[in-house]
Point group: C2
Chain length 370, copies 2
């Protein structure tokens, strides 16, 4: 269906450009500018100098302030063997299996074409904040040797206003010009404290997202909603990691009863060993226009428009951490969203083969993609 | 392709509603409200009490002021036999033909299935304003007998700021909150003086449109861009009316060399005689959701979003006239526009048969529709 490929081009011709670069502005936007030039057009941008006044920019770069503020608070710590939570992982379809960190490289996760994939969620544990911070930072430093796990303090449930309320005065409670533009306060504000081993696989959110980096850097790959077929969204069975502090091992078990999660199949950074295989499985991704690529530095905000697919990696500061705060504002479910759903509902020939929960043309209800 | 019909429903489910009514607000919008709730969502609205301060509201309801201001000005007067300019009309494909007003009812225009249709533009003549006003008003009163023609003073070339500059102080030069929202002044401001016999066939414009009625009423039928296939856009050969003041007859001649204009085939108000035929030709129009229907009264503004299909009729004031001023602002050619072009590029089975310039599946370049 060449019309879909024309759409990928046209949205770049008209609005986004082909440079693969995200537009940058050097000061906070007015609400009207933000609405007119970015939200209404569903177009990302990077805003510099928008959080210069946040105390967090200086006081979150050393441990003293954070630990004092949160000395008696427990926070949600996400543990995975390899930094990939909410991501595809290989599993044995017949039973859960031990997943030792020593054998958990992402390489192995996709070497065998016959391996079944699941949608793996992290082991989540409430941990006293000082300990969580230490686990994140030491994970950053120790990774050259074999680490036990990758720790990521985050919880996408408004955690900045809940678990981290002691830090409230270090940041703005909302982004003033975004709030005025969108006509509402954020639905959720989330804090993310991780190191360079955590990455977030391609997905989209049903929110307008203002993503502010406080220390370290975040590296985004972005694809517009028009490119939905290029990500080979398929349904994968949900599974959960469990970590044993005694054995230092992870197990990964399918949820029971089984639950399917639609998720992007494309890994934009496959290991050298799996690259050829990945490229042959995802020709629409490989051969289409390159994703928009940007690095958000400390002090910058990314406006990540609703429904845009994004993949995130991070670089730590000198203490081994990346800290960011993101503001999720309700999106409008308007004609753009209706168009997206229409596009997604169209079948598009792909060459993805999976042994797992394969959609078929005769079973349109099982998922929108084949 | 049931996905397209789902799109028609979903845009109503999510954003527009099924009532067929356009949202009304009772005072001028703020720029942010206008952008957020209507422009960004590509959603129409009617704004009352937005032009209460215009002198035009009182001084355009009698002739004295208008004639004094424009006594020595010539204006563009559009003449048609039946009030339908920029509309489909029957023609004899072998030669131009005399089109006498006495035999020019729209009924006859579409009774014969074998009749070829063209895209007919009005005879346009520069006429001293006082004479133009008299021809429009007398046309309104005399229509019960057989009129010579229907006159409509309009020209979509920024005519309010050109031909009618003497009236500039009677209205605002732009709509303040729209200008702030859209970040630019209007590209064109047009004046429309007509009577109840003029109507505008379904079409769309590539502008954000603020349409203010000063006297009389305008009756709109609106369909969102998602419904493009329901209007059976086809290419019709362009033709032009010529009126002879001597014989009182119109001729309608194809342009030479021939030029094709894509235009909506659906007439939403067919005569009783042709109604069955029209309904059978346009099942997607007839059987899909009803158009949004609204009447804009004197003192009200319609926000008509870019790319919305609209059909317009009018009711005169007691002097036999409808006068309106519309402001065309540049639209954003963004992801919404890219989605529209994608949708329009998809073939959709329709039952329209035409003997004229029929597209075929094997000739995709000749036009997007079959």
């Amino acid at each position: 269906m060449k019309e879909i490929e024309t759409l990928w081009s046209e949205v770049r011709d008209l609005s986004l450009g082909y440079s693969g670069r995200v537009e940058r502005v050097n000061s906070p936007l007015t609400p009207l500018q933000f609405l007119r030039d970015f939200v209404s057009q569903n177009k990302p941008c990077i805003i510099s100098n928008a959080i210069n006044h946040w105390p967090a920019l200086s006081c979150w770069t050393d441990d003293t302030h954070l630990i004092r503020a949160l000395s008696s608070v427990s926070v949600s710590l996400h543990l995975t063997p390899n930094g990939r939570a909410d991501a595809l992982a290989p599993f044995n379809p017949h039973h859960g299996f031990a997943f030792n960190s020593a054998s958990s490289s992402s390489t192995e996760a996709s070497t065998t074409a016959a391996t079944s994939l699941c949608f793996a969620s992290a082991h989540v544990e409430r941990v006293p904040f000082p300990e969580a911070l230490s686990l994140i930072s030491s994970g950053s430093r120790d990774r050259a040797s074999i680490p036990k796990f990758v720790a990521y303090a985050q919880q996408q449930n408004d955690c900045f206003r809940l678990e981290y309320s002691a830090l409230a005065s270090d940041c703005d409670p909302h982004i003033q010009w975004a709030t005025e533009a969108l006509g509402c306060l954020p639905e959720a504000v989330n804090l993310w404290i991780g190191n360079q081993h955590s990455e977030t696989s391609f997905h989209k959110d049903h929110y307008e997202n203002l993503y502010a980096v406080v220390t370290g850097e975040k590296h985004f790959l972005l694809l517009p909603p028009t490119d939905v077929h290029r990500l080979y969204i398929k349904e994968y069975p949900a599974a959960n990691y469990s970590y044993s502090w005694v054995t230092g091992e992870f197990t990964l078990e399918l949820e029971n009863p089984i639950r399917y999660v639609p998720w992007c199949s494309v890994d934009p950074y496959p290991s050298p060993e799996t690259k050829d295989d990945e490229m042959s499985k995802f020709p629409l991704y490989v051969n289409g226009p390159a994703p928009f690529e940007c690095t958000i530095k400390a002090g910058e905000i990314l406006y990540l428009p609703s429904m845009w697919f994004h993949h995130v990696r991070q670089s730590p500061d000198e203490r081994g951490r990346t800290i960011a705060v993101n503001y999720w504002y309700d999106m409008q479910f308007d004609i753009k969203y209706a168009y997206f759903n229409f596009l997604q509902s169209l079948h598009y020939q792909s060459t993805l083969n999976s042994t797992l929960h394969e959609d078929s043309d005769s079973d349109a209800d099982s998922g929108p993609y084949v």
